[in-house]
Symmetry: C2
Subunit: 307 residues, 2 copies
């Protein structure tokens, strides 16, 4: 089945304790699409500038990603620069040049109208809402957001949350959104805002999925998937979007969406996030095989399952 990803495509300049890279392909839609491409068909809606050459686009095309929805605007592509120090969970932003992304209005090509799954990368919640409205037929919508929108556009975000089935955010975003420091209580409050399920990403500690009562089947409890303890984290950029790509990609590859599928998807999210951070930028996500992915899924399973 097909997943449509709407988000950013960017050039990143990244410095970490392991080294630095300049102007490498990045952006939420890019990481998401590459990660999801190992599971199912992926389409992108994003905007780039004149400097986005065929070489960059080919990175996506080689993975079979449908790039017809990438709008080529006059101007420069979104650029982000940041650095990570010892705490690899926290990026210090050096610069953000929105460029053509500033005027981004997602346009869904007619060929994408039959998309069965939708992922809304971390963009203005009003734009996220517009995309949802333009695609009323999707089976499941996943979405991301961030502190910037939670603080500055809460009202718009509230409307968007009613259109999102599965929200994927991290601990601090969940706590800020709910105005609540206890994580499971924060989760309950966020679920009351609209989503049927909430994935809270804990960085190196994995992720938990909380379900609204009765959503996606019956079950009393949330579910937790681990992250792999990784000795060499080269570059954490894109880990969250790669997680979302593995999560939504696996869901998109299944016939049905139920709790067991969502639990496995949480594992695949962790798997793709763990690959993403092994190399700078999207490098590792460009050259994986499904066998490597499933082998790591097994490692994640052994890491948490009793005999």
């Amino acid at each position: 089945m097909s997943i449509l990803a709407v988000g950013s495509v960017a050039f990143d300049c990244i410095a970490t304790p392991s080294g630095r890279v300049d102007n490498v392909l990045g952006g939420s839609a890019t990481y998401f699409a590459l990660a999801a491409s190992y599971f199912t068909d992926v389409r992108i809606v994003a905007v780039v500038g004149d400097d986005f050459t065929a070489d960059y686009e080919n990175v996506l095309k080689k993975r079979g990603v449908d790039t017809r929805g990438i709008e080529h605007a006059t101007g420069k592509t979104f650029r982000w620069g940041g650095q990570y120090h010892d705490n690899l969970n926290e990026a210090k932003t050096d610069f953000t040049e929105l460029n053509v992304f500033e005027q981004f209005r997602p346009r869904i090509p007619a060929e994408y109208q039959d998309s069965q799954f939708l992922f809304l990368g971390n963009i203005n919640p009003t734009l996220q809402s517009e995309v949802c409205t333009a695609l009323p037929g999707v089976k499941l919508t996943g979405g991301d957001t961030m502190n910037y929108w939670i603080k500055g556009s809460r009202q718009d975000l509230t409307l968007t949350l009613k259109q999102i089935n599965v929200l994927l955010i991290n601990d601090s975003e969940a706590k800020m959104l709910a105005g609540e420091t206890n994580l499971p209580r924060a989760a309950l409050k966020v679920l009351a805002m609209g989503p049927q399920a909430l994935v809270i990403k804990h960085g190196e500690y994995g992720a938990t999925i909380f379900f609204r009562e009765g959503a996606f089947g019956i079950g009393r409890h949330p579910f937790r998937a681990p992250a792999l303890p990784i000795q060499e984290v080269k570059d954490p950029t894109g880990a969250g979007d790669s997680f979302a790509g593995g999560f939504m990609g696996y869901i998109g590859s299944q016939g049905e969406v139920n709790r067991e599928v969502l639990k496995r998807a949480l594992f695949y999210g962790g798997v793709m996030g763990s690959f993403a951070v092994e190399q700078f930028g999207t490098e590792r996500l460009q050259s994986l095989t499904r066998e490597e992915i499933d082998a790591r899924f097994q490692v994640f399973r052994e890491l948490t399952h009793l005999e």
Copy 2:
């Protein structure tokens, strides 16, 4: 089989967002012993003052804990006061009155010489070493330590670490001990200091056990157990010692110590930690049943296991 626990017995004054209590029974040996008492025979070596009345001791005795190793010294019992704010993972200490604990020299009663398991609570590493030396016949020694000793008594601690089979510490302690911010790399360094296994406690995210190559059987990977997402954490005091009590208690209840036992023990550690925080002080640990414990073990399993 019998576990001997050496550590502190104290009176705690605790304030959390859920309320406050004064002069309740606490201390590392107390939490450990109560938690472990649901699994196997437990004995305590500790020191208390004149103010430690029979009522306090009866809390332990009621759970079948052998208190003959509690030394009654002249003076006051160790007292600690602390408060927790929104971040329940961090205690702000109001006061520490060591009192009789300042001169504590663990004396192992003759009746305890046949102890098969030993747990060294967070006390001076030199005293921990002395206990190990006094009990050469134990099958497995678990131990705790803290930043205070890692910073101030590193050389003594280095010797102790060679006598401990399983070290149980938290993330920041592991990183400080290893001088390394990456957790799995820190774990490798700590294992090289002596212990065959290292349990790193992640608070609300659970715990990971790392094994030295070949220790306790064969296996490639560490193992992670979750913590239960708890909506009502009333008082986090003693969670780590209760974790250790569940962990060591389960090990002590088994005939053999192998990786599968240690993995299950990690789950039971999380289970006992999750009970401990539900009420102030040791209250919840006084009134559990083995059925409640095993029911929660099942919840932990469902929380992490795919079908």
